[in-house]
């Protein structure tokens, strides 16, 4: 028997030893876990994305209302006497404001007190209020328009313990963990107190130390099991063994969840202070600090924005505890309790008010950065978004689509659309609308809808022709008679004009202006489909597209963004500049990391591009886009092109003024017919939008190898100013017709007339 007992005892010892070893190993593992996270980068900081800064200068076209909108976006507050950065005051047409200091990509800028005077929708004068001197130029800081967030959209602004006001720390310790500075991670007395309080029905108390709370948030899941609780306690002790109280406290203050803004989580006191009070953490008073600390118990339940009464009661409870702990005097307690909540109104913005634009920024960033870095390094991204243009684009699209649906008795929500606005010369993207609901974060039609482009291809066909001045000019007569293209293995291709008619011989310019399909198809076939498609690539399409005869009439699908690339090169006088949504990237510390400078590449010679653009101005003046005159004055000389696809499934308009290019697509997500042409759909959105943006006229610079010649449009031959129906057209020098029409300069009639004039004078 005794012999049997001995091995059993030995087993027990072995068992106990093994258990101890296991516990030790687990502790070592926990220790490793605790340190690994604390030694590395503790927090993932989102990239912050900024709009373009508004530059103010005398002569800038800007109304007081537009500037007020910009200031609202920057969270400026109106006061009677602006002194603090971020405040302003209007008196009639004069604005006094104090800018906030800001580090730009090119240089840092101090806070400056400005006076801006307006007259007739323009900035008339600019004054530095400090020294009373006039300024030529002043730059406001750019509006924060979103972030690229780590998982679960956690947003935070890191703070150091030195930045935290003492009374906030006092409040925190008074409410959450009174013995924080003396315990070693766990607080047995706190646990006992909590247990008694819970048992005696005095409300449920946590009993977790700040250290345990941090461990729970930092390392563990939310499950409530005994095992997890034990793990938490061991880790808390380990954390305290390795790190100072200050470090633990600082990390806690940066970690905690303090509310929700749409889909964006507000983490840490550094972000909560501006989010709720619009001021930095260091400026919080007793009642504000108490409010934030009180919210820790349940940021949603005690939200001062959705449950102000509850939040107020909770705040006052925290204040009482602060007074009990000796952190504030009776006098301070009374005045803090009497203070209002002090929370600023602010519309919910979520991760961004401009998700479609942010989407484009993100994609352009992904060419140079890893997703992980974008979501953790706290990079500062300076973009090209112009909020004024963006709002104009959003409102034009959503309002116009709703009106079109009513006018055409469509079910509300049938139509969708997309819109991109850029600046013509430097290719900066000023606005992107990815659908009629600008806040929707899903399918971005501006970037991802692939649609047949229809007649938007025609300028490319005509450009290809005009690059051969010996064969084609704006006056060349094209054949608009029935066309049947027979190719082995495919159905016959029989293009039709929109009006189902044939127009005989039409001048090249008129064929584009009226968007005739048949002469365009015949012209394109003569030039060669592949040459036209090669030109499309030169203009900005970077992928290979299938090449069919029907490509000449726009059967290929492109996204609105790709169409914008193509028209950008046309609007940029034949110089290609890849569309840019980003100007510069700075590190979290404000060090320049990367800039995206303006690059241009001449792709198309000046003269044929000039001829094409002049004809596109005629499209608006007298062709398929002439209804645009109902929206914008003719003096703007806008150049554009309409596009409509089979059965009215896609309605396009691409056009540019002297300063902006915009491309609009209107259609249905299910690809069904809309009954809209390019002019009756997309162009109306374009017109609404541009009308609100005070566009600059398009004044083309005539290349020096261009001459102007009077032409008889019917024959395409030389004519003269006085002749009936004669038009003056630009030609590449030496390409104008030499033969004269009956009324032309070398015609018989003209010779006789000239002889009479020479003989008898006028």
């Amino acid at each position: 028997m005794a012999k049997r007992k001995k091995p059993k005892k030995r087993y027990l010892i072995k068992f106990a030893l093994a258990g101890l070893l296991l516990a030790a190993a687990f502790t070592v593992y926990l220790d490793f876990t605790v340190r690994a996270r604390f030694e590395g980068k503790r927090f993932a900081l989102p990239a912050r994305v900024y709009a373009r800064p508004l530059e103010l200068y005398p002569g800038l076209s800007l109304s007081p209302a537009e500037l007020t909108t910009e200031l609202a976006l920057l969270d400026y507050r109106e006061t009677t006497l602006p002194g603090e950065p971020g405040t302003y005051h209007w008196s009639n047409d004069t604005l006094d404001l104090v800018t906030r200091p800001f580090v730009f990509a090119d240089d840092p800028q101090e806070s400056v007190a400005l006076r801006v005077e307006f007259a007739n929708g323009q900035v008339r004068g600019l004054l530095d209020c400090g020294d009373g001197q006039p300024l030529q130029l002043a730059r406001l800081e750019p509006a924060l328009i979103g972030g690229i967030y780590p998982g679960k959209n956690e947003d935070r602004v890191l703070i150091r313990l030195d930045d935290v006001p003492g009374h906030l720390v006092d409040a925190l310790i008074a409410v959450e963990d009174r013995r924080f500075y003396t315990h070693h991670g766990i607080d047995p007395r706190g646990i006992a107190r909590a247990t008694i309080a819970t048992a005696s029905g005095d409300g449920v108390q946590g009993g977790s130390t700040l250290t345990q709370q941090l461990i729970k948030n930092f390392y563990l899941t939310a499950e409530r099991t005994l095992r997890r609780k034990l793990t938490e306690m061991v880790m808390a002790v380990l954390l305290e063994a390795h790190y100072s109280k200050e470090e633990i406290l600082e990390t806690y203050l940066n970690e905690v969840y303090l509310g929700q803004d749409g889909n964006r989580g507000i983490h840490g006191f550094g972000l909560a202070a501006p989010f709720y009070f619009d001021k930095p953490l260091s400026h919080l008073d007793n009642s504000e600090a108490a409010l934030l600390v009180g919210m820790l118990k349940g940021p949603t339940y005690f939200s001062p924005r959705s449950h102000p009464k509850r939040a107020l009661e909770r705040r006052n409870l925290v204040l009482t505890e602060m007074a009990e702990a000796g952190g504030i005097t009776e006098q301070q307690l009374r005045s803090a309790k009497a203070a209002p909540l002090g929370v600023v109104d602010r519309p919910s913005r979520g991760t961004s008010p401009y998700p479609a634009f942010l989407n484009l920024v993100y994609r352009q960033l992904m060419r140079d950065y890893r997703d992980e870095d974008l979501r953790s390094e706290g990079l500062q991204i300076f973009t090209t978004l112009d909020p004024r243009v963006q709002h104009s684009a959003e409102s034009a699209l959503s309002k116009r689509l709703a009106r079109l649906e009513i006018a055409r008795s469509m079910k509300p929500g049938t139509l969708q659309g997309a819109l991109i606005v850029t600046s013509t010369q430097n290719a900066e993207v000023q606005a992107v609308a990815g659908g009629r609901d600008p806040r929707f974060e899903g399918f971005n039609r501006a970037l991802d809808a692939q649609r047949p482009i229809g007649s938007l291809i025609k300028p490319v066909v005509y450009l290809t022709a005009l690059q051969e001045p010996q064969s084609y000019t704006l006056a060349t007569l094209l054949d608009d008679s029935p066309l049947v293209l027979q190719q082995a293995g495919t159905d016959d291709w029989v293009p039709q004009n929109y009006d189902k008619e044939f127009h005989g011989e039409v001048p090249l310019r008129a064929a584009l202006v009226n968007s005739y399909n048949v002469p365009t198809a015949r012209l394109g076939l003569a030039l060669g489909v592949s040459r036209v498609m090669a030109n499309l690539r030169r203009l900005g399409i970077e992928r290979d597209l299938p090449e069919y005869a029907s490509s000449l009439l726009g059967s290929n699908t492109l996204s609105p963004l790709e169409v914008t690339e193509v028209y950008q090169t046309i609007a940029g006088d034949g110089f290609r500049t890849p569309l840019r949504a980003i100007r510069a990237v700075l590190t979290a510390e404000g060090e320049p990391l990367q800039s995206y400078p303006l690059n241009v590449e001449q792709e198309i010679e000046a003269a044929p591009l000039y001829l094409l653009t002049a004809a596109m101005q005629d499209v608006v003046r007298e062709g398929t886009a002439r209804e645009l005159g109902a929206y914008l004055p003719a003096a703007l000389e806008i150049a554009g092109k309409t596009g409509t696809t089979d059965d009215f499934r896609d309605s396009w308009f691409a056009g540019f003024t002297g300063d902006r290019l915009a491309v609009v697509w209107v259609g249905r997500d299910d690809n069904g017919p809309t009954g809209l042409t390019g002019a009756s759909g997309a162009m109306t959105v374009w017109g609404d939008m541009m009308a609100g943006l005070n566009p600059a006229p398009l004044i083309l610079t005539e290349p020096d190898n261009i001459e102007r010649v009077w032409i008889d449009p019917v024959s395409g031959l030389l004519s003269d100013e006085g002749c009936r129906d004669a038009v003056e057209l630009p030609f590449i020098t030496g390409s104008a017709p030499t033969e004269s029409a009956p009324c032309g300069p070398r015609s018989l009639g003209r010779s006789i007339k000239g002889w009479f004039e020479r003989t008898f004078g006028r």
Partner: protein, 138 residues
């Protein structure tokens, strides 16, 4: 050159004040807009200090205000030439030419920039042709 710009900026300021007297024979002003002139000045100072990237950024700011100002495009071409970005310098000078209209002096200078850019990247024949164009402009 800076002195000229200063004078131009002063002239522009006077013009805005409504008390300018246009003097015949002065060289064409780079811009009527005082903000653009101020940014040009800044770019010039940055260039002289060797801060070419900053100079480029200032010129881009000016171009956002006056995107069709051929003088600004030329300045940017000059900055890129200084940065050793010869192809960009050439393209930017060509862009300036496309917007220059009949400003002969400006066009000639653009052709000189194109000539320098070409010669520095070893295209001597192309450079020669550009310098000839520069000569022909004047």
């Amino acid at each position: 050159m800076r002195a000229i710009r200063r004078a131009a900026s002063l002239a522009a300021a006077l013009l805005l004040a409504g008390c300018a007297v246009l003097q015949p024979g002065t060289p064409p002003e780079p811009s009527q807009n005082a903000a653009v002139v101020a940014l040009l000045d800044k770019a010039q100072a940055q260039s002289s200090a060797g801060q070419l990237e900053a100079a480029g950024a200032s010129l881009e700011r000016a171009l956002r205000i006056e995107p069709r100002n051929s003088f600004l495009w030329q300045e940017l071409a000059r900055v890129r030439l200084g940065q050793g970005q010869y192809r960009q310098a050439e393209n930017l000078a060509a862009k300036s030419n496309a917007l220059a209209g009949d400003a002969k002096g400006l066009r000639a200078e653009n052709w000189r920039i194109i000539g320098q850019a070409r010669s520095r990247r070893g295209d001597l024949q192309g450079a020669q042709a550009a310098f000839e164009r520069a000569g022909a402009e004047q």
